[in-house]
Amino acid sequence: MLRLPSAERVNLKQLADQFGFDFHTMYGEKYWDETRFYQFSLEQVEQDIEDPTEALHQMCLQVVDTVVNSDELMAKFQIPEAFWAFVRQSWQDQEPSLYSRIDLVYGGRGPAKLLENNADTPTSVYETGFWQWLWLEHAAATGKTVNRADQYNSLQDKLVHRFRELKQYHPDKVLYFACAKETVEDRGTVQYMEDCAKEAGIETAFVYVEDIGIDEQGRFTANPDSETLPEESPVIDWIFKLYPWEDMMREDFAPYLLQNNTYWLEPAWKSILSNKALLPMLWEMFPGHPNLLEAYFEEDAALCDPAKTWVRKPIFSREGANIQIMKGDQLIEQSDGDYAEQPHILQEFSSLPKFGESYTLIGSWLVNDQPAGMSIREDSTLITKDMSRYIPHVIV
């Protein structure tokens, strides 16, 4: 696995503007970074990333099946009790899933290790499915990479295909797309998902999460971004959300989720996987598996070998918030955030590989249960965050 220097396209900003990629720079700092790219062999991609991704996903599904059948585990996974039946029904009905991204520690030699599963609201889907694909088209055309360079990235093809499949379940419905207000990145990501659904022939519409309303029957409605409540709003039957289940289950409209017949992407059972309690559960069910890191619930901290370094993570944190890396009593690294008050898990520390001055994290995508592509992030610290740069890759 090599990291090679490259040159930014002269018209990069113009291209980004043309394609509406408005978050290529965030808070004034570069996010999409094509001054370098990673190079893999096909064997590395297939044997070290793709195959383990498929296997890990299957193991995760087994975890879901185990958890839904146990009240004790549902509680441990912090699913509010009012939602146990809702989540169980979603699993029993085999409600279809669209996508997820698992994060792996990998530096060119296997086995890759699972850090976590972003099964509910994975981000960087646009950068992965389209933007790095376009980068390769241009890079190959201008000789920046070896001729016939490929990329592990059929994400857009698979998303569109999956949307076509999902359309069969809802042939006459509008699919709504929702995200929270005031986030350029989320709006861009959701726009891309909407574009993919449109390619599949689905009729789509957008609504902000905050503008979702209810009618007298408790059905969800789509409303414009304004103060007044309209007399006539469309009912939302089918909706994709870039917003976490764990928040929705605790917010004011949570009870309506239980009452009405709205179909959600991602489905509710995915909330069991997008939850770091998954990690100690996997270790318990598949101890010693080569692609897993040792992990325990904090209440079982006595099982952690004090000679090893451990990472303490809140169950629901995201974007690398509130992580603590500890060896015995010594704090090696930590990050800020709002999730400190939650229950925590402990995971064995496995250092991200260092390339130059940066630590590198592999994101491995699935559409439904099929491996679909790879994204790469770099950070100057061991904890990958929202601002970590996105780097493209090739297969040679």
Binding site: D17, Q18, F19, G20, F23, M26, Y27, L42, D120, T121, P122, T123, S124, W133, L136, D150, Q151, Y152, N153, S154, Q156, D157, P171, D172, K173, C179, A180, K181, E182, T183, V184, E185, D186, Y192, E199, G201, V209, E210, D211, I212, G213, I214, D215, E216, Q217, T221, P230, E232, S233, V235, D237, L242, Y243, P244, D247, F253, R318, E319, D338, I395
Partner: protein, 232 residues
Amino acid sequence: MKRSKTIQPSRLQKRETKLLPPGTLKPLFVATAVSTLALAGCSRQMTIEPTEVETFTSVNDCVASGKHTEQACNNAYHDAQVESQLYGPRFTSLADCETEFGSHQCTRYGQSGGGTGIIGPLIAGFVIAEVVDEIGDALNPRYRNYPVYRHKKRFNEDEYVFGDGTILGSTNRGSYRINTSGIEYGKAKSSFKTKPAVTTSVTKTVSKGGFGSSSSAKSSWGSGSRSSGWGG
């Protein structure tokens, strides 16, 4: 190949290309038979002029015309196939399709290999149309590739039509002048469309804002909007 095969970048374009300041681009001289163009530096608003196009029945046909590179011809052929599968005229029965397009002119796009399983006409050819509706296009020519179908007319000669039903012209002619901005790229015209209409119920909203409160609570650092979001 491990990467996506059916991406057409033009379909993900969100904004028109802006003209860079003079001097930052090599001047380009674009020679076409019919389009009136404004060259770099001209600030006049352009009207949309019709463009001359040819239909090509195959990649070889396209290359032999000498008007486009082999790459452009291959791309156009590929784009036309994809476009046809996604947005071509579709029918619930072969008989209905053949009534419009003639016997043996229809197919079920196969489900294996990623096809949609829909019944539609075979592609009769494809068109590469230069899109000229902006000053910037003089410097960076844009092309759209369309499939065309051969539509049977009962008392007249057959005509080529686009996927949305727009008529290109009689199949007897070699080239055509059309206004490509009139074609609904990616939309099947209702006279050919037979898929069920989308149904939406409408109701009175009694309350909103019951989701999303966590987001306002967590935007505590920094004033104004944060670019980062709710994903992980």
